[in-house]
């Protein structure tokens, strides 16, 4: 996996499954015999990581969806952290 750039196209890592859980009222990440509950912003980032969209496009989309600006550093930091946990991967 190459270093993270704005052109990287992250997707949910192998062996993980991302879904919305009504009972938990949040997005969760499932993996062998475990579950991580994601907070609101983590869920919003992760659900856009479809292996197609670039990080730049994800930032753009989030800024539009939440009428916000300057999200790039936060998104990059999250994607970096998530890759360390193997939640996200890219080519």
């Amino acid at each position: 996996m190459s270093d993270l750039t704005l052109e990287s196209q992250p997707r949910v890592g192998p062996g993980f499954r991302l879904q919305w859980e009504p009972v938990q009222d949040c997005h969760v990440l499932l993996y062998p015999e475990g579950m991580v509950k994601l907070n609101g912003s983590a869920g919003e980032i992760m659900k856009r990581c479809d292996g197609e969209r670039t990080v730049a496009a994800i930032v753009d989309d989030l800024e539009k969806a939440f009428s916000a600006q300057g999200l790039e550093p936060d998104v990059l930091a999250f994607v970096e952290m998530a890759a360390k946990q193997r939640w996200l991967a890219w080519d």
Binding site: G15, R17, P22, V23, Q24, Y31, E33, M35
Partner: protein
């Protein structure tokens, strides 16, 4: 008592049938008398009701779940409903075709166990038949893109080979290796004198494991599940009775943990007669040992009571003949001497040949003999 959260884990014990005869099996000793199995449609209903309650992890276990020829259908339905699906198997009965069909059905994860008798363990340790089978199955798991998770139950007869065991897991490309010290219930309890390791063996095994961890780093994560008999500290039974786990036995009995059926004076509801919602929130079987309200001394005044929740109810019953007693592995338990004696006896017996106390293998004939 606060309303319990959802049962996050649904463990479907599909069958007690099994081609293996493991001496440490946690299936009930009288399994041979419980031949009834839920139908495919029963399991579909259970899965649906579990998802409605908020269950996210589905474990498919047994016995050997591969002996059910509707396993692929059950996996497909669990996947469709949104479970993360885990197959817990010995790998016996897994073929390329079935692996492919299970992948297509949406199976997320296979946990491959190394287990069985001393004979199989000898085979395994000497690179013969079992090693060939497990390698083949490990290859199938890898080629289907499943994470490679291996589980080895550890006891006195294999603990000294832990270096070889870890080396083999690495050779097979395992990403996770669980070295699970035997828990002494059911068949393992019958064989306890022969299976309990000594303190020295454990210390050695932990040192070897630590050395491998340092060597392998992130490449393979090794979990060493500590044996509670040696630690003097009880563990939370299934992370708290009725707090996370819901097991459904082959005949449809719903249990807070897979060994709870042994407890006297408590009946457990069947999924044939009740919905999982009623079972989880309203049944006496699930409410009896929830939280801390049922506790007596020394638990009730103990500052660890919210941490360990009094430990394991089955262990309390097996060792102290009282399911509401403190888990005797706890140093504060008035019955703790029984645990200390068992470990000491293991130390003495470890020096004698095994033939003096034959192992009791988990098979239907022994089951019937022991459950009259």
């Amino acid at each position: 008592m606060a309303t319990p959260g959802p049962p996050l884990w649904l463990l479907a014990e599909l069958t007690y049938r099994c081609p293996l005869h493991c001496v440490f099996c946690f299936n009930p000793v009288d399994f041979a008398k419980q031949e009834d199995e839920l139908s495919t449609d029963d399991w579909f209903r259970v899965l649906r009701q579990g998802r409605e309650l908020g269950a996210v992890q589905c474990g498919l276990s047994g016995g050997e779940p591969l002996v059910r020829d509707d396993l692929e259908l059950i996996v497909a339905e669990a996947h469709r409903l949104g479970y993360y699906t885990n197959l817990l198997t010995s790998g016996v009965g897994l073929t390329e075709d079935r692996a492919e069909a299970l992948k297509a059905a949406g199976l997320d994860h296979v946990q491959l166990s190394f287990q069985d008798s001393t004979k199989e363990m000898n085979d395994f340790l000497s690179h013969t038949k079992t090693f060939a089978l497990k390698s083949r199955v490990a290859g199938m798991i890898k080629s289907q893109g499943w994470p490679m998770v291996m589980n080895v139950v550890i006891h006195r007869l294999n603990i000294d080979h832990i270096d070889r065991i870890i080396a083999m897991a690495e050779e097979m490309g395992a990403e996770y290796l669980e070295l699970a010290n035997t828990q002494y219930y059911s068949w393992a309890f019958l064989n306890r004198d022969l299976l309990l390791p000594t303190h020295e063996q454990l210390r050695h095994a932990e040192e070897v494991t630590d050395a491998w961890r340092a060597k392998l780093g992130d490449k393979m994560r090794i979990f060493f599940v500590a044996p509670d008999y040696h630690e003097g500290k009880p563990k939370r039974c299934v992370n708290g009775w009725g707090s996370m786990f819901l097991t459904v036995a082959p005949d449809g009995t719903a249990l807070p943990c897979h060994t709870a059926k042994m407890l006297p004076g408590l009946s457990f509801p069947s999924v044939k007669e009740h919905s999982l919602r009623e079972i989880w929130f309203e049944s006496e079987g699930f409410n009896r040992y929830r939280g801390t309200g049922w506790m007596k001394e020394p638990c009730v005044s103990c500052d660890q009571r919210e941490v360990d929740l009094g430990g394991c109810r089955c262990q309390a019953y097996l060792l102290a003949q009282d399911p509401a007693a403190a888990d005797p592995v706890c140093v504060k338990s008035p019955h703790h001497a029984l645990v200390v004696e068992a470990v000491e006896r293991a130390g003495t017996l470890a020096k004698k040949p095994v033939t003096e106390h034959p192992l009791v293998f988990r098979d239907p004939a022994n089951s019937r003999r022991l459950s009259v």
